[in-house]
Symmetry: C2
Subunit: 448 residues, 2 copies
Amino acid sequence: MKQKKILLDENEMPTQWYNVMPDIPNGIDPPLDPETKQPMGPEKLAAVFPMGLLEQEMSDKSWIDIPEEVQEIYHIWRPTPLVRAYALEAALGTKAKIYYKNEGVSPSGSHKTNSSVAQAYYNKREGVKRLSTETGAGQWGSALAFATHKFGLECKVYMVRVSFDQKPYRKIMMNTFGADIVASPSPDTAFGRKILEDMPGTAGSLGIAISEALEDAATRDDTKYALGSVLNHVILHQSIIGLESKKQMAKIGAYPDVVIGCCGGGSNYAGMMTPFLTDKLEGKKIRFVGVEPASCPTLTRGVYAYDYGDVARQTPLLYMYTLGHDFIPPGIHAGGLRYHGMSPIVSALVREKLIEPISVHQLECFEAGRLFAQTEGIIPAPETCHAIRAAIIEATRDLNDPQTILFNFSGHGLLDLSSYEKYYAGELHNYDYPAEAIAAATKNLPKI
Amino acid sequence: MKQKKILLDENEMPTQWYNVMPDIPNGIDPPLDPETKQPMGPEKLAAVFPMGLLEQEMSDKSWIDIPEEVQEIYHIWRPTPLVRAYALEAALGTKAKIYYKNEGVSPSGSHKTNSSVAQAYYNKREGVKRLSTETGAGQWGSALAFATHKFGLECKVYMVRVSFDQKPYRKIMMNTFGADIVASPSPDTAFGRKILEDMPGTAGSLGIAISEALEDAATRDDTKYALGSVLNHVILHQSIIGLESKKQMAKIGAYPDVVIGCCGGGSNYAGMMTPFLTDKLEGKKIRFVGVEPASCPTLTRGVYAYDYGDVARQTPLLYMYTLGHDFIPPGIHAGGLRYHGMSPIVSALVREKLIEPISVHQLECFEAGRLFAQTEGIIPAPETCHAIRAAIIEATRDLNDPQTILFNFSGHGLLDLSSYEKYYAGELHNYDYPAEAIAAATKNLPKI
């Protein structure tokens, strides 16, 4: 009988993270201070991040040890399975071999826990008592709630009001892990109170929630801030996805022709593909395809420039693909992909034409997700449906091409089933952002 | 670093189910025809079940081959992990070694898929085109929806109205797998229409839903009926849980002192414990503890007698522990444990004092479930919380007793989070059934 799952034992889990920074051709540009527009050193960022993470953010070492305490918690769900999607292949009638790395088996149901555990560890080590963060769809908030509880830290999550109301199960999961959750805008911060006064009844936004979480961390001595994607240290932690995948494929003598992942802030995809990058730089034939929603086309239609990470313009300026910090994407249900910017690392790899970005529409993604559930038995998160859709495009372009496709199954969709319900009811639509709107949004970029 | 997960490769998965029937001391009494009160042969049952399953229901063979087609689908999620709960042990401060078998990794999130895949296979083999079933909490309906889709069968699920309204995500999961779901009582059957007329606005009950599903199967040539617990063939299919567990414990040189599981209809627990039974019969020191809710105390306070399997008195009479087919337990949230009867196999093992039944209260179960989530990273189904609570009782009776505890983690609770929310909000209460009420319910048993 054909083997579906390629498993690793706990003692086969990598014990170092891979840092892609030294291997990026032409490097990435440094973050700038939003006030002075000069390169920003760790001192100023130390108000909101612990030094252990800032060292990783700036590190030029290729390999960084995973602390034993982090490894031990990783072992709750890691190594994650690599799975050959035989049933999906059969349904497509393709000769392509499709593999997926199942990051949905984590406590919070996605790859986010790979970084939340590491971030909680380094904060704990430096005496931090409490972490603040924002969450959109709820994946990152859940992951940080789990991790902070493991290290005995308090956790405050500012959850975008619209998600807070639409995804009550995410909130209950965070409560289960002991976190304190509030709908954002909230009465708990000066910024939140101001917004509530100016815009009563607002649905909130990630930009507002980031501002609240940052204010929380900046105004309390016991608290630091945690971010779930975009930054270099987050991508470092996520590299375990690709490192394990490589080991698993080697175990069965396989190697991918193409590596696929969905891109919101960029961390799940970079975590999957960066460990394969040096092979490509050394001449190996391998393609990297990053998938984003057509309704938030940062990599395919954005500009490459310095921009703010948030709407309120409080964060450092990052050099990245961006639709402009004013850009508000339409309410598609893949909340994790609704970000105006993109990780500087992923942006630089797109600039170097090492990653091919593509965009796909919402309806074809849900259709792909349903087919995946029916064949492979796991209901994917709406974000993950984008990666599945791209894998299907690759596998069906030429049904006789026996190429090897690897994609990151970033998370399950059990807490997103209300989005599927809307899809089945025909309430969802595709959305193409008009060119003028993108031109208008990217006109307001900061002058450097 | 201590190994948490004991994994088996797919080629280590057992290829035969274990049938406990020939090993039960003094056997079990046969089902009776509800009209004649005489033992019921397969002919009459063949109207609603395929012969392949009826042969298993009556089989006296100890081992039955798992068809290759079933094994192949099992491989989607099986073998399931056996996990040493180090973090839970540490939180309890116990020297006991706690292991759990994680059946929550299946496509529907529970052990139910072990039987649904087998049932769909045997129906398909005999040319059945469509299956009807009922579901309470939704676990069984989801499992059958997945399995029927895999074999290209249609599936109709009658879902108890109160669950249909309270657990919308279960319904969406079943839709994802392509099943047709209707709230019961429904306008789709004569019995449903009658109930809707007599009791407009009723919340429904499992008894009504069973009657509708049976009517559906009896009145359509292309349709048979499927049951998710209680019967011998269901317990046969679930034996893979215990068989794998035994293999996994042997791999690390361990053997349980006590094997624990929650009991609703009895199938998850019997599936776990029966493969260990012959060891006990041969003199090995091992205890079996079956856990039920104090609010539906079938094994601990019921009577051992012939009774109907449903409220409408349509099913064969089964010899089992029962609270009376009229018994309606209070609305605790572990919907899967709210059954008035119990599998005849589990009942006979309790009669023989081979299984020790215990009952636990709802609030202590949710408390145990939350502790499990915080330590082991998986939110358990409310039913599974009962097994966890019993494991904690065993592990903390004497903190210095280094005994080995094994329990079946029957399912995750990601689609039951609204029950946790009620628990956190203090809206749940314990419930002890008064003696008079039990006496009254068990007074109406059929005269044989």
